[in-house]
């Protein structure tokens, strides 16, 4: 059996004796006898490190690692620079708890302050929190921060990721509030429908940019309509696209959120990911989660602390803006590290390459008979194609080490990142052509 208990049998006896007990059973004397588990757990015997390694490697080997991933839909396979993998594995970053003790946590606190600044820069907003669980919970938390006594209804565009819509709906169910889905038209939010749904009971409207189908929404027009009705405008943005696309601030957003996974985190079967949230100074005291602030110590030295804690559950209890406590700190550190490694030009280059390669693949696939683009309009790195035989295409590409676009609504939702070479994309097109011939 493997064990991480350092004390020897003899030491354990000495310790028991010091407490005045004769057996470890006596440690549990407050537990009613009838409740004690009077049998061994039905688990395998413990294993040595060598055996555990082999078992875990065998499990990992049962999964297929595709050389090229052309599937996105909320999880994006970008290149992760080596240094971005190494640094978060440093033992201090890895094993520390929340930086409540500022004097021995300046490293974590400063890394979060830097992350907050980078997110603010990327979104054009004034302030960011230290992270929430993922993009979907960020959207749900944003909806909650926009509600007040009178305005309780949340609107969300139908062009949003289905998991995000469902998560926001679940959080609304929690507080007994209403979520209404604004219909779409030709793959984008229907502005007229939005206008018809807005009224003085609406707290906020959420739109994803680029949306679930990869298309750029006319965010400014949506924002204007939302503000005209006195509601708040929330944008959920892809952080890679933000390197080149108009910022949520410039589109009029009051809150900018998003899934931070593309910033150096592996697709990892869905997590851990990173929810980012940013807003204007006007709303900062409504922002949920931890926020790091700058201050000084008694000698006037610059210092960082967890700040504005009067919003949080450990002070406010049932009146807190959210129950969030643990967040995704190490993922935020990774995202900051990724942005520092790539720099402003590198980030823009990733975005531009994704966009160029996605358009290259879309054009080539649409030259095949029977393949058409479902929705016209400017798109980023994802696009939905109407095409037959999606299952066969998925299988044919899998044989070539490629994970195809996602079979979705009788078509395929494709995603191309900077990792796919022209050569691979050409092979993909040839293979699709063969299936559809």
């Amino acid at each position: 059996m493997g064990s991480y208990v350092p004390s020897t049998e003899e030491q354990r006896r000495e310790m028991l004796e010091a407490i005045g007990l004769s057996s470890t059973r006596e440690l549990y004397r407050d537990v009613p006898e009838s409740m004690i588990l009077n049998r061994p757990l039905d688990l395998p015997e413990g294993k040595s490190e060598l055996e555990v390694r082999a078992a875990m490697e065998a499990l990992a080997a049962k999964n297929t690692v595709f050389k090229t991933v052309l599937r996105g839909a909320g999880a994006y396979d970008h290149y992760i620079p080596s240094i971005v993998k190494y640094i978060p594995a440093k033992e201090e970053f890895l094993t520390a708890y929340t930086p409540y003790q500022a004097e021995i946590s300046q490293g974590v606190l400063q890394s979060i302050f830097e992350y907050q600044t980078m997110i603010a820069e990327l979104t054009g907003m004034d302030a960011s929190n230290a992270s929430v669980y993922d993009g979907a919970t960020a959207a749900a938390e944003a909806a909650a921060m926009c509600r007040d006594r009178k305005r309780r209804v949340t609107l969300i565009s139908a062009t949003t990721h289905p998991d995000v819509i469902n998560t926001v709906r679940t959080y609304c169910y929690g507080t007994n509030d209403t979520l209404q889905v604004v219909p779409m038209k030709d793959g984008k939010t229907d502005l007229d429908a939005l206008k018809a749904m807005l009224n003085d009971g609406v707290a906020s409207f959420y739109v994803q940019q680029p949306n679930f189908y990869g298309l750029f929404e006319d965010a400014e027009a949506l924002g204007e309509a939302v503000h005209a009705a006195g509601a708040m405008f929330v944008m959920g943005c892809n952080p890679i696209a933000l390197a080149i696309m108009k910022t949520p601030r410039d589109c009029g957003a009051d809150v900018a959120v998003g899934e931070g996974q593309p910033l150096g985190l592996p697709i990892g079967f869905g997590g851990p990911y990173l929810g980012f949230m940013a807003t204007t100074m006007k709303h900062i005291r409504k922002l949920p989660g931890r926020i790091v602030g700058e201050t000084t110590d008694h000698d006037g030295r610059r210092a960082y602390v967890l700040s504005l804690q009067a919003r949080e559950q450990h002070i406010r209890r049932e009146k807190a803006s959210s129950n969030i406590c643990s967040n995704e700190a190490l993922c935020a550190l990774t995202a900051g590290l990724y942005m520092a490694t790539m720099g402003p030009d590198g980030m823009a280059e990733v975005a531009n390459q994704c966009m160029a390669k996605a358009h290259y693949l879309q054009k080539a696939l649409c030259q095949i008979d029977g393949v058409t683009l479902r929705y016209d309009g400017a798109f980023f790195h994802e696009f939905l194609l109407d095409m037959p035989k999606c299952k066969e295409i998925e299988q044919a590409l899998a044989k070539k080490g490629v994970l195809s676009g996602l079979p979705y609504e009788d078509g395929m939702l494709w995603c191309v990142t900077e990792k796919a070479s022209k050569e691979t994309l050409d092979e993909v097109v040839a293979a699709v052509k063969e299936v559809l011939a």
């Binding site: 757990l41 294993k47 201090e92 469902n166």
Partner: protein
């Protein structure tokens, strides 16, 4: 220490990507960003040195004793890290065909079976990303259950006043009114107080056992029975599971649903505040209400985040459970309790335990008497511990003990470390009597002294201002 932005040099960069090999495509002008984000411009050496400098100013479990009560700062095995870094786990897409991710599904199924056995539950979800997220998910199970019976009059969740702040905050997020009940003097549930608030409007009770002062509530069967008789359900906050795993199960105490903090009990690292994983388990009758991803799995159900959860954290937890196995799980719990009792025993005679009796995996010191005598507060003692290379215990929690310090040594500390820690506490106890001023100004050996938190809150500076 300089901020990363203060080290940035215009035009400097890391060379990561090849040249674009297809025609560039420009974003339509009306969609373009007006100015580039002012991200740092650095060489890889700059990046490496900056983060190494930051890392030096962090106290991890690897640096020394970390008895942070209720956080279970046990050692995080490195084999678990290596397992989670395997390409077969990191490089798989959550929406890949199920036939290509059989190993990942097996990880989740195995971990689910193991954790259900350890907790006495029948079903489990790994969607929640942290403990508070698990509480939210668990209380939503209770809400859906009552809704499915059209039982809409149940509007209240009962929470003891000794509870962690996330409990009442969670109940509020689930649309419930919070009924705080006073605890008995020993931090346990006051049965009369409980009886007096139970009724037709009771949706459920949120409780941790051992409770937040580290005592196992021996009335637990009576408590859960009373709640059930009133038609409510019982939620187990698993923050303190490290004391009991393999010894006694929440399912056998009468709880209907629970969360586990994989980042506490199951040794996955805290990462400076996250990511964690807040697995939620439930009894058979609540399984229909567990969350599912709309896109991956089953539409029309509740869902608390995208996809399936913090999978790579689950991989670590499975490696840990596999290592400890049948005997190692209770061995860890028993030694966590042994270590806590031993440390409390060694500290006794100096600082006063709030409850002088056998504790579970953690105990609380009450420094109110000492503070009156010397003027040295729990905060002063906590900050003084830092100068000895020890992470301070949890301070001023639970709220029912004044000048509280809560210590949780965990099972992965040796007798030598506990003896040393007790010595340090003894030294500080004496020091406070002779030189309180020195302790008011602690810590003395850190990069910064105590920060001005009031200033930070009054005039929030939450991002760097570029020149």
């Amino acid at each position: 220490m300089n901020l990363i932005f203060e080290k940035s040099v215009k035009g400097r960069k890391c060379d990561i990507l090849p040249k674009l090999d297809v025609e560039p495509v420009a974003l339509p002008e009306n969609l373009q960003r007006e100015t580039a984000p002012r991200l740092p411009e650095m060489s890889e050496t700059d990046v490496s040195r900056h983060y190494t400098e930051l890392n030096k100013q962090v106290h991890g479990v690897n640096c020394g004793f970390y008895p942070l009560g209720s956080c279970t700062m046990k050692y995080n095995p490195r084999i678990d890290e290596e397992a989670a870094a395997l390409e077969g786990f990191t490089n798989i897409h959550p929406l890949a065909p199920k036939s290509t991710v059989r190993g990942a599904l097996e990880v989740l199924e195995t971990l689910q079976a193991d954790l259900c056995e350890i907790t006495g539950m029948d079903g489990m979800t790994f969607e929640p990303a942290a403990g508070a997220h698990g509480e939210f998910t668990g209380v939503l199970l209770i809400k859906q259950y009552h809704d499915s019976h059209n039982d809409t009059k149940r509007t209240k969740i009962i929470v003891p006043d000794s509870a962690h702040g996330t409990n009442p905050a969670t109940a509020a997020m689930c649309g419930y009114q919070v009924v705080n009940i006073p605890s008995a003097p020993d931090g346990c549930v006051d049965l009369d107080a409980l009886r007096s608030v139970l009724g037709e409007d009771t949706a459920g009770l949120m409780l941790t056992n051992p409770n937040t002062v580290g005592i196992f509530d021996e009335n637990i069967l009576e408590i859960t029975k009373l709640v059930h008789e009133a038609g409510g359900l019982c939620y187990y906050d698993g923050a303190n599971t490290n004391a009991i795993m393999g010894v006694v199960r929440p399912g056998d105490m009468g709880f209907d649903c629970i969360h586990l903090n994989l980042h506490k009990t199951f040794a996955t690292p805290h990462g400076g505040g996250g990511p964690g994983a807040g697995a939620v388990g439930c009894k058979e009758f609540l399984k229909p209400f567990l969350p599912h991803s709309a896109l991956m799995d089953r539409p029309g159900r509740v869902q608390v985040r995208a996809f399936m959860g913090n999978f790579l954290v689950c991989v670590r937890a499975l490696a840990y459970v596999m290592t400890l196995g049948r005997e190692g799980i209770p061995e860890a719990a028993t030694n966590a309790v042994l270590n806590a009792n031993y440390l409390m025993q060694k500290i006794k005679g100096t600082f006063t335990p709030a409850f002088d009796r056998i504790c579970m995996h953690e105990f609380v010191l009450d420094l109110s008497g000492y503070e009156k005598e010397t003027g040295v507060s729990a905060l002063d003692v906590a900050k003084s511990l830092i100068d000895y290379g020890m992470h301070p215990p949890t301070m001023y929690f639970p709220l029912i003990v004044h000048e509280a310090l809560m210590l949780e040594p965990t099972e992965t500390e040796s007798k030598e470390t506990l003896d040393w820690a007790a010595d340090v506490f003894r030294k500080l106890y004496e020091l406070g009597k002779t030189d309180p001023e020195f302790m008011h100004n602690a810590p003395h050996n850190t990069p910064i002294g105590r920060p001005d938190e009031v200033k930070a809150a009054r005039n929030p500076i939450v991002r760097y201002t570029f020149a």
